[in-house]
């Protein structure tokens, strides 16, 4: 099983890799923090990974992303690409527009480029799963995270269309929408006393969804119903809620 992970140092991605490692997977991992990625690679090897290759981090240049996808698939069939990178700064209503651009680049543009880059070769090979980590924040956005949420909303619509494009090719598209998860991104929420899903729990659901080829998964499952309600709230009520 060959698995490509973009943003492999994210808590959810790392825990997914641990689950795949015990099955003896071959990994190609990409992340900005290469020192951390090396520690993760050693960990996955001890856990049973058959091989771990570290890719040169390149998140924004379309030509480089395409070259990476083409060469990775050319070296042997890829079963899964997990696109997991993201960045969520706090208090987004107070940030300048350069930060807004950065958030959109990291959370929306870059993931789409990776999915696009793998969609073609996967369709040609008539196999593979493109898994994207979205967010419940893509269903409803609030002032503290609306730029991030809007990026994740773009991924939701993008995944919907990509799934349509790939019907009949044998390629699966899986969108995971975690609720707030206990990772480096959310330490401030723990301080506020919120109960967060563990990265391990979200990873287990993610790996399971990929195995079954589910199109859209909320983790924990309860979020599907929570977001269904919140999405249908009238604006005057929604804007008074302390969320």
């Amino acid at each position: 099983m060959k698995i490509v992970v973009i943003g492999a140092t994210s808590g959810i991605a790392e825990h997914c890799c641990r689950l795949w490692a015990v099955e003896g997977a071959d990994f190609v991992l990409m992340a900005r923090d290469t020192a951390k990625l090396e520690r993760i690679a050693a960990d996955l090897e001890v856990r049973g990974a058959h091989s771990v290759t570290l890719a040169k981090p390149e998140f924004h240049d379309p030509a480089a992303i395409k070259a990476f996808a083409d060469s990775t698939v050319a070296q042997g069939p890829v079963d899964i690409v997990l696109i997991a990178h993201g960045w969520m700064p706090l208090d987004q209503h107070k940030l300048d527009i350069a930060a807004a651009e950065q958030i959109l680049q990291v959370n929306a543009v870059s993931p789409v480029l990776f999915a696009e880059a793998f969609a073609g070769p996967f369709a040609a090979a008539r196999r593979g799963t493109i898994a994207i980590i979205g967010s419940v924040a893509g269903d409803v956005t609030r002032r503290a995270n609306y730029v991030y949420g809007a990026s994740k909303a773009l991924l939701t619509r993008y995944a919907q269309g990509l799934d349509h494009r790939l019907v009949g090719t044998g390629v699966k598209v899986v969108l995971i929408k975690p609720g707030p998860t206990d990772t480096a991104m959310t330490t401030h929420m723990k301080e506020a006393g919120k109960r967060l899903a563990s990265a391990e729990e979200v990873a287990r659901a993610t790996v399971d969804a990929i195995r079954r080829g589910k199109v859209e998964v909320y983790v924990p499952k309860l979020w599907r119903y929570v977001m269904l309600i919140v999405r249908h709230m009238p604006r005057p009520i929604l804007n008074r809620l302390p969320i």
Binding site: G7, T9, S10, V22, R32, D33, A35, K36, R39, I40, A42, D43, V46, R47, G48, H85, G86, W87, M88, P89, L90, V106, A184, M185, T187, H188, K190, E191, A192, G193
Partner: protein, 443 residues
Amino acid sequence: MQGAEAMVYSDASMRPVSSWGRLGAEPHDVVELTDRTAIAAAVTGRSGIAHGLGRSYGDACLNPNGLLWRTAGLDRLISFDQATGRLVCEAGVVLRDISRLMIPRGWNLAVVPGTQFVTVGGAIANDVHGKNHHVVGTFGEHVTRLKLIRTSGETIECGPDERPALFGATIGGLGLTGLITEVELQLRPSRGPWLEVETVPFSGLSGFFSLSDESEAAWEHTVSWIDCTSGSALRGLFMRARPAEGRSGRRWRGRMRRVPLTPPVSLVNGLSLKPFNALYYELGKRKTGVQVVHYEPFLFPLDSVLEWNRLYGPKGFYQYQSVVPRAEAFDATRDMLTAIAGAGEGSFLAVLKTFADRPAAGLLSFAREGVTLALDFRTSRALPALFSRLDDIVRAAGGRLYPAKDARMPRDFYQAGYPNLAAFTALRDPGMSSGMSRRLMGF
């Protein structure tokens, strides 16, 4: 992504933290450690204590209104040698993960405590023991090397042959010699996940002692549950287990349930104690005979109920675990059980176990030759008087209490039970300080 992490570190603010006994939730300044190369920077010049999964019951892992370095994010494996069974890992790795990964490869941790939800660092800092103490001793005996980062900024490697004094102080040293960051463990060959388990009902303490003596040569794991409400007519279930050679039992799914909420009052109380203990005894008696059982439900019976500590209600609970020398154990145990029954208190799961006579791995290791008794008590007004009565019995017998379980022992009793304290203090990292270290050692 880099930006988010940097922000998180500088933005550490106070949040409530409890230990397993849930006796309080004082605010702590929690710093999450996730990068083993960045620990020195987080620790140097500061004062606090490491906190793994918070499974110690009292204040060993707490530092109210001060700094906690949370190590659960330091959970990466570093290397493993399949031929020798040497595993190198970060200190926040959880024991369950090691066992689940290594048993299929023919290796396992030599020592595991009654829960798998502890970190390697925590297992060392409390020099934990398991049901197989008579065969393999304590966790610290299987640590071949560890790396400490001191608040002076110094990084020190130590082991049984390298800076052995500091190593001995770190084993069972309650995290006070520096932050344990990396550990090398000698695993033990494993013959798979299945255990041959036998449950033998017994009555009277003499029944327990004769079963212990007769079982230890042939059975790797021994432990007894006792009905602590039975008073002088003591009854219990002696459980012994050993690897099941080439046999397997019913598939273990490892399903876990969670206590969904904290009940307004303790569910362990005068009304529930007797019926629960009677039921547990009757059900246990039916299991008499040899069965093949997966190691997880046998070794970690409470792990399948997440957050079982909530059952004791909002006021939390105390655990009292003592060890007394074997020569005194009969009388001391009888006196303790009589005192507990007389106070109308008790626990669902009172545990009695013998420790073998082995040299201690650490200066402050709890385990010693003798008999250990562990009980949970809900918080109640009767407890201080009962505890001081129990302290008197343990102290008179030349015994001591287990700091990992303790939230209240008097300082003089601690000093009496741990004669190496002065030698230990000289090796401490002066920046490491916990609620427990201030209570029992003065700083």
